[in-house]
Amino acid sequence: MQERLVNSFDPFVIPYTFGLIFLLTYLFIALIRVIQALPNDDKFKLLKHIFSLKIFKSMKEIFLECLLHVKIWKKNWTLGYMHTALAFGWFMLIILGHFEVQLFAPHRLNLPWYPIFFRYFMMETETTMQGSFFFFMMDLTLLLVLSGLVLAIIKRFRRKLFGMKRTTKLRWNDQIAVIALWSIFPLRFLAESFYSEISGGSFLTAGMGSIFHWFYNFTENEIYIRPIWWAYSIALAVFFIMLPWSRFTHILTEPLFIIMRNAGIREEHRNSGYGKVEIYSCSRCGICLDPCQLVSVASLRDSAAINYTRHLRLWKSEKAHQAASICLMCNRCTKACPVGVDTAALKLNTKHEVVTFHTDQQYDYLTSKTAESGAEPAIAKTLEPTDVIYFAGCMTHLTPATKLAMTKILETSGERFSFIDEDGSICCGRPVLLAGARKSANELMKKNAELFKQTNAKILVTSCPICYKFFKENYDLDMRVLHHSQYIQELLKEGKIKVDPNGAKIVFHDPCELGRNSGVYDAPREVLKSVGELQSTAYDGAESLCCGHSIATESLPYRKRHMIANDAVEKLTTDHPDVLATACPACKKAFSETNKIAVKDLAEIVAENLKC
């Protein structure tokens, strides 16, 4: 290959070069600002990560997720192919382009536009044919990108083919960026095809070029086809300039997000640098729309993860707070998100920024008699030492069949236990934390932990998944924390209790807080299998639905909660089970209210079939 033109410049490179300089400047300033906003120890973590071997792990993840989009492949092949074709294809075009310059015109490497418009400036010579390998590779990659592009266009009209019922609504800024992006590659294809007669090409561009030539000999009228290079350059420039203001920001932020996440940085605040990077890493792919029951059942699209991050990007904090306070925190969206944007954590931060609930006197009644009622303070109770403590949880007292069943099971097991909240208790603190008052939660936690410690127990069993998650992850307790499903499983395994199988057909609904949010999936199933015939559904395990009565939502109207519960019961009972089992008082209440099927806690099912 050799240079076709003496001149290494043509005015059409100006828009592209301008766009590139703009983008790089923006990127540089944004990076500095993000790093500045990081708290000092996070800066240190980041540095440590970059200069350790772990950086290779991040590199691998960036390659797999930002270029190959492996997680999207797992969701749907067509969708995965589309993302890979566009991202990996474009990346390869850039890399191969630079190789070409490096090999055939190394002295031009300092010109940023040279690899992009390579085929305009260079030509293939009859004698060498050295470039043909690259021509072939470039054409192949271009074909890959174009196929991805065709799929992206089809996706706008036929999203079912991509396993999606709903997709992102584009705002004007996204529309401009999308149109620019969609024009880049066809324009490049056209330009290179027209020029293939002059500068050479492979199967795609040369093939297309000869078809064009058949109609008209453009080669002799180069002046008429030059505007295509202009159009290509302008499309690139528009895309670069719109990039920081559109959904495509994630192309730049996602790699940084992966590095920061792997460095162990977590968001304390949405403006803490990390939070910012996380918000801008959302690619607005829309994958979180379908799993969200607020969208699919309650028609509250504004509250979905994708729109919550958009509110934050647009500084609409009021709307962001609204979305956060409606959200069920079921984490169906975060589980599905290919980027790993933890919107639940971000939403919690949004609430913490707005809510002012804590005061020093707030819970003084826990330690001293209050002037108003004169009732004994909660902490004045002293608890006897025992082996197992059973904490039913506030809400379990409203579904008393569960606590009665647990008492029966515990008595039958012969373990030394005490039912510590038999006469009521204080809350575990998770609900108030979820409402945005961390300090208030801390006070409740402190009191509860003091009470538990008095008993010197080895095991704490609770019937409420909300308490379970909190005791397990946020309390620093010197005892094993078990949800009652896990404890019953142990008792069965050790032969301390026995059940008579009754053959009932059971569907188990995984409560969000127990399943997705705490990772307990197997224990409840094992327990239920020992009593009846467990039917599987499409919503088992991590796919489980939310019952709609999550404690995390403060403002979701009851009507909508009920719609979500109804819809979930319908989906769970398509195989006509005898009983719908769950392991959470809130789910039980939600499902019972639909009056569609017998709903029981798994403890009740076990207690009814105990062999005494």
Partner: protein, 113 residues
Amino acid sequence: MINFGYQRNESATLDLDTTHSELYKKLLDKEPSAATCISCGTCAATCSAGQFTDFNLRKIMLLCKRGDMQSFKPIINRCMVCGKCQLACPKGVNTRNIVLILNKYLHAGKISK
């Protein structure tokens, strides 16, 4: 005045010198379910905070309706936001949101739109 054989109680809401119901109206804006409360008292009967204090959501909502904010200002955040009341309320009132909104108004001085 005609004697109906019983006495009429003084209305607590008609004295506009002492009644300031703007908070209640704002509350309805933010949490419309407050309007459906029938003052049945289920929330207060099950309340976790009610075991140890005089915290009583039914009463707070009545006082709020009557425009008497000062009397519950010091105790509004005694609620543990545990959610029992919400699960039990026969009318599906978003009780916890009401507590949070009232608290925000009384202590931060505003309820945003």
